[in-house]
């Protein structure tokens, strides 16, 4: 899993391919994009116009022979420009904000949609944290840099352009000086921005290490105390914070050098403007006046802001490329388990199923010479054969990590056999759609996963179109109703994140009700190892048996009673099926099952008497 560490992909080179794809996403929101473009251009025009206006005012009112007849005109002009700022600033913030929000919305939706289509195996090899980061911080960052970056970019370029154009029109000789200054400014800006961003990248990395250390320090406190390694841990932590301090100050040095450097550079430009422009005034050439000089001085001062902005955006884009790359890698992941076009044609896709073409599922299951290995090459099943008649049950027995879950995953088509086939009702299950299979499947987890919502919603998750009555009927059937009655808010009680607000036993019962409501033909029971109180356990047992009635059931079993009652028992060790048969047959063998059963029998007996 190390490959999922937060490494910054390639990212040294600017990749047009990536940004082209991202821009495609942005172009879905053309309306905002163009409106924003318009407002920002307006802003750039105003920023160019304003010094010009002042310059004319100086020329008209503050020269040797002032002309006061234009006073009203100028005041109105100023009011007009103020209004212009009101509109453009309001407009571009609004449009860029909307663009950011909608692009973020689109990216998240697209990624989430993809996540739903991706098969279970994807989740098996991708840490949840990685997925979460793509849908939260990465998409947020990308949307932000795209919209506000575009604003800065457009504004920066147009302001620079506007200023240059006006300067060239007014006096191209003096404009040349500023043009000469431009590459120096740009080079310096890019140099510093890169240095600063790299330094901060390092700082961020150390920062996340510090957070992890805090987490570890708190979570592992008892162990740390009993090992008496507090001093070592403090020392390690001090090393981190010292490193942080060193690097953060380094980053600060670069950023505090940046602004003064640009400032001095631009004032060198201003000094030249003053001297050469001054020459024009003294020699009365090119109609140069004090007002023109003001214009050039103020343009030069104004000039470095857009340069700095553009440099920053270029550097940030470089950084955001890593985010873009990671999101695209998620969106573009090809599911390795999917239906063939022919199957999709007939049965529909996962999101647009053609339920009218779905045959009923009976529940006969057969593994025919099934071999399965994980991508790592580890073979889990080899030439495995198993026949399960509809309505019967199979218990999978073995230690944790022995491979019980693999068989379950194969039945659910979370994974597919590498060779051989799995037949449902006599036909290879790949001939029908994943949606078809899953709609006929019920899954009850060891640690039931509930969603943060009401009890009613959680049960209805089994079949979304079920009426309230049907939900409550299912709840009654499995004993959920008994404890819901005592809750002040009844079925509307919110269970909290992960179901934290209700007990484990209650969570299990709800997950049974959910499965019952789904009325599946194939039932997967991943039995709980965690002990719940005896009363609830008995209830859970009864409900399980009731649930299994008439359904083809696979149980990842831990409790004796469930194992004994199963029609078939598979004993699995190190990914191999070592014994297979029913309870009696297996006991007679006096092999692995015998020992397992004996230990289990005694442990359960003692546990019952001791708790």
């Amino acid at each position: 899993m190390n490959s999922f560490e937060e490494f910054d992909y390639s990212s040294e080179k600017f990749s047009f391919g990536i940004w082209k794809k991202i821009l495609k996403l942005v172009f879905k929101r053309k309306k905002y994009l163009f409106a924003m473009f318009l407002f920002v251009t307006g802003l750039a025009v105003l920023d160019t116009l304003y010094p010009l206006m002042n310059s004319y005012a100086i020329k008209t009112f503050f020269s040797e022979n002032p002309d006061f007849s234009k006073t009203t005109f100028f005041i109105l002009g100023y009011v007009g420009i103020s209004l212009g700022y009101l509109i453009t600033v309001w407009g571009f913030i609004r449009m860029a904000g909307y663009l950011e929000i909608e692009v973020g919305f689109d990216i998240r939706n697209e990624a989430f949609r993809k996540l739903q289509i991706l098969p279970f195996s994807y989740y098996d090899r991708t840490p949840a944290g990685w997925i979460m980061a793509r849908l939260t911080s990465d998409s947020r960052r990308l949307a932000e840099i795209i919209s506000w970056g575009l604003v800065d970019m457009v504004w920066g370029c147009f302001t620079m352009l506007g200023i240059l154009i006006v300067m060239y029109i007014v006096n191209w000789r003096l404009a040349l000086i500023i043009t000469a200054l431009l590459p120096v400014l740009i080079a310096a800006s890019i140099f510093f921005r890169k240095k600063i961003l790299n330094a901060y990248r390092k700082v961020r990395k150390i920062n996340s290490k510090i957070t992890a250390s805090f987490n570890e320090g708190i979570q592992g406190i008892k162990t740390t105390k009993t090992l008496v390694i507090e001093e070592d841990k403090n020392e390690d932590f001090n090393k981190l914070t010292t490193d942080m301090k060193k690097n953060a100050i380094r980053a600060v040095i670069f950023s505090s050098l940046f602004f003064p450097t640009i400032l001095v550079l631009s004032f060198i430009g201003i000094a030249f403007v003053l001297r050469i422009g001054g020459g024009f005034i003294v020699n009365a050439r090119f109609g140069f006046t004090v007002a023109t000089l003001y214009l050039f001085v103020s343009y030069t001062m104004q000039f470095f802001d857009p340069v700095m902005q553009v440099a920053q955006i270029l550097a940030e884009l470089q950084q955001a490329q890593a985010s873009a790359e990671r999101i695209l890698s998620l969106i573009e992941t090809e599911p390795d388990i999917k239906d063939t076009p022919e199957v999709e044609e007939k049965y529909g896709t996962l999101l647009e199923p053609k339920k009218e073409n779905w045959e009923p599922l009976e529940g006969d299951i057969e593994f025919r010479n099934v071999t399965f290995k994980y991508q790592t090459g580890e073979t889990v099943l080899e030439n495995f054969n198993l026949k399960v008649k509809k309505g019967t049950s199979v218990a999978l027995v073995g230690e944790t990590g022995s491979g019980k879950t693999t068989i379950v995953n194969l039945i659910c088509r979370f994974y597919e056999p590498v060779s051989g086939e799995i037949l449902i009702d006599g036909r290879d299950y790949r001939e029908r759609s994943i949606g078809w299979l899953h709609s006929n499947l019920g899954y009850v987890l060891q640690t039931p996963h509930l969603f943060n919502g009401s009890i009613l919603e959680n049960i209805r998750y089994g079949r979304l179109d079920a009426s309230d009555e049907e939900v409550i009927a299912a709840a009654k059937a499995v004993g959920v109703d008994d404890f819901v009655k005592d809750l002040p808010e009844g079925y509307d009680t919110v269970v909290g994140e992960g179901g934290a607000k209700i007990s484990v036993g209650q969570r299990q019962l709800i997950s049974f009700a959910r499965a019952l409501l789904a009325n599946p033909r194939i039932l997967i029971l991943d039995e709980a190892t965690s002990s719940i109180d005896t009363k609830t356990e008995k209830l859970v047992q009864e409900v399980m048996l009731q649930l299994m009635e008439g359904r083809t059931t696979f149980i990842v079993a831990h409790r004796l009673s469930t194992i004994i009652d199963a029609d078939q028992i598979l004993v699995i060790k190190d990914g191999k099926i070592i014994e297979q048969g029913n309870h009696k047959e297996l006991l007679e063998k006096k092999g692995e099952y015998y020992n397992l059963y004996k230990n289990q029998f005694i442990n359960e007996g003692i546990e019952k008497s001791i708790s």
Binding site: L86, A271, L351, H449
Partner: protein, 610 residues
């Protein structure tokens, strides 16, 4: 409370006082120095080109002005003034750099202090505190609250001075040019300040709402990713997409609402600010009619207006941030003011051989009225293997916590080699009595590092040795990277049994005279359990081991068995004695035997029935 909040906030700046003073000084110096920049331009325009003003109206040091006067030629004078302006800016640049650098040092110094003292303190907080603490909240106090305090002290606080400085010096320089212009330019101030305070107050609340909605959306993603089996098994993918879309939309819509207000505020704010320029310009046009202003004056004034009208818009934000910083520093202080567990500590460091005596020990949690242990007495001799057996909740694990002073007993005595435990240093006793927990914590590093933890340097051979004794060596060699395998989120996930065995290995390496297994072989099968304990005894004949267990087969082998029932010792003895004595142990033993024979009967009966 507010007063204390202020003290909590500023105490972090105290150790870095010289730096803080320097930053505050620079924050005022910067606008002061800047306020002279327009004077250079004004000098060039008025004195050199227009030549119509007296020098008294140029606010530059007289030595500079008389220096400029040396240059008869106008253009040479312009070049000299221009060059001196560049030098002046470079001079300012040096201060700006110093300001930035010292500010960074100050900020990082504060963050460093806060992080280290939080970490150290949290490590030293009592076990009871940690038992009741909310990890997420605690981490937030260590990270984001820390950031808030740091950036207020190093950022917003000097910024406040900068705003005041910029405003004051801008106003003074303008007044020197023309008092009326200065007063007119103040018109916008009350509007800007009040609207900025109102806006930032309002927007903060909106931001919180948006963040909350984002968190709700994140929860949906999280539940979807974690519950992928359920989603897929019920074929509810389309439903999930719709659900996510709804939450995502809610977040986006609230965000749009926020954006609307932001756009309106900044648009209006810019409008008002530019109206101020308009007003100032209009008034100056009337003033110039009366010959009260020159071209140089208006050019300088245009620059000074900026010093007055732009920075004050940030006041509202700083006021809001101040409140946030006080809250954050209070939250940090709340943790730091909890006394650590070493406030009450012993000083003695006796030799520990394993002679342990409990004499009428009782214990209850401070917030509880029920005694978890009641009048518990027993002795353990050096080199003995002692099992403590009892039902869940009988107080077994409490004994372990008491023995290493994670918890403190209220009455009775615990004697370690004859010394009262309360007089013994906590760290000393923990370094002598090794406790292996049922659910041990592995640190996010390699397996090797996890075993050798507590040692800076050690022969790898010794690590392998203890791993073999703890029956984990083969498991480790089975990993792709062997001992270099990373543990935890970014590495392999170990099973409970593997974790327990690694914990045993690292305790073995520490070679303590007493080892206490707090149900720490529960996830290891019985055979391995026995093998490990035999190997332990083999390694160190003098080792005193205490085994807390609910497995009767494990207890059976001990030199002494202590039976615990409802916090009281109900029997002490060897297996041979206890299995004959009426009581819990005999019951358990009988059940074990009965179950075994029942099992045999069951199987045989089953066979006969065939």
């Amino acid at each position: 409370m507010k007063k204390k909040g202020l003290r909590n906030l500023f105490k972090w700046a105290k150790p870095h006082l010289p730096e803080l003073i320097a930053i505050l000084f620079f924050s005022v110096l910067n606008p002061l120095l800047y306020s002279f920049v327009p004077q250079f331009i004004k000098y060039i325009v008025d004195v050199i080109f227009e030549g119509n003003l007296t020098e008294g109206r140029i606010n530059l040091p007289s030595f500079l002005l008389s220096f400029y006067e040396n240059f008869e030629n106008k253009l040479t004078a312009v070049a000299v003034v221009g060059a001196s302006l560049v030098l002046y800016q470079a001079f300012r640049g040096i201060f700006m750099f110093l300001n930035g650098y010292i500010r960074g040092k100050f900020a990082e110094g504060i963050a460093y202090d806060m992080r280290n003292s939080m970490f150290r303190h949290i490590q030293n907080l009592s076990f009871t505190y940690h038992n009741n603490a909310d990890t997420g909240d605690l981490i937030q106090r260590c990270t984001s609250d820390n950031d808030t305090v740091k950036s207020f002290l190093s950022g917003q606080l000097p910024q406040l001075l900068y705003i005041i400085g910029s405003f004051t010096f801008g106003a003074v320089q303008m007044a020197l040019i023309n008092r009326t212009i200065m007063l007119v330019t103040m018109a916008v101030v009350p509007i800007s300040v009040t609207s900025s305070i109102i806006y930032f107050h309002f927007i903060r609340k909106k931001f919180e709402l948006v963040e909350e909605l984002e968190a709700q959306m994140t929860t949906v993603i999280q539940e979807n990713v974690n519950g992928v089996r359920v989603v897929k098994a019920f074929a509810n993918e389309a439903h999930e997409i719709a659900k996510f879309r709804k939450e995502s939309r809610k977040f986006a819509d609230e965000n749009r609402f926020l954006t609307k207000y932001m756009a309106l505020y900044w648009g209006l704010s810019d409008f008002v600010t530019f109206l101020q320029y308009t007003l100032t310009m209009s008034v100056s046009i009337f003033l110039v009619r009366d010959g009260l202003l020159s071209a140089g004056d208006i050019i300088a004034c245009l620059m000074y207006i900026g010093m007055l009208v732009w920075p004050i818009r940030g006041l509202g934000r700083i006021i809001g941030d101040f409140g946030k910083a006080v809250v954050a520093s209070n939250r940090i202080d709340e943790v730091l003011s909890v006394p650590d567990e070493f406030v009450e500590d012993g000083t003695e460091t006796p030799e520990v051989t394993g002679a342990i005596e409990f004499r009428n020990v009782s214990f209850r949690f401070p917030d509880s009225e029920v005694n978890l242990l009641e009048d518990v007495s027993f002795t353990i001799n050096p080199g003995e293997t002692v099992a403590i057996i009892g039902k869940t909740g009988s107080g077994k694990s409490t004994i372990a916590s008491l023995l290493v002073r994670l918890l403190e007993y209220q009455s009775g005595n615990i004697l370690i080699d004859g010394v009262e435990l309360k007089k013994i240093s906590k760290r000393w006793i923990r370094s002598k009595i090794g406790v292996i927990l049922q659910d041990p914590f592995l640190y996010a590093t390699t397996v090797f590092e996890n075993i050798k933890i507590g040692y800076r340097k050690i022969e790898p051979e010794r690590v392998y040795q203890v791993a073999k004794t703890a029956s984990i060596h083969n498991d480790i060699m089975g990993f792709e990277k062997g001992y270099d395998t990373l543990v935890g989120e970014k590495g392999v996930t170990l099973s409970g049994g593997q974790k327990q065995r690694i914990a045993i290995a690292r305790m073995l390496l520490m070679d303590k005279p007493v080892v206490l297994f707090d149900d720490s072989l529960s996830a290891v099968d019985t055979t391995t359990d026995l093998a490990i304990r035999n190997a332990l005894k083999e390694n160190n004949k003098k080792l005193t081991s205490i085994i807390i267990t609910h497995r009767i087969t494990t207890a059976k082998e001990a030199d002494k068995i202590i039976v615990l029932e409802n916090g009281r010792v109900s029997a002490i003895g060897r297996h041979e004695e206890l299995s004959r004595l009426e009581g819990l142990y005999k019951n358990l033993w009988d059940i074990q035997g009965a179950l075994e024979s029942e099992f045999v009967k069951l199987v045989e009966g089953g066979e006969k029935n065939e």
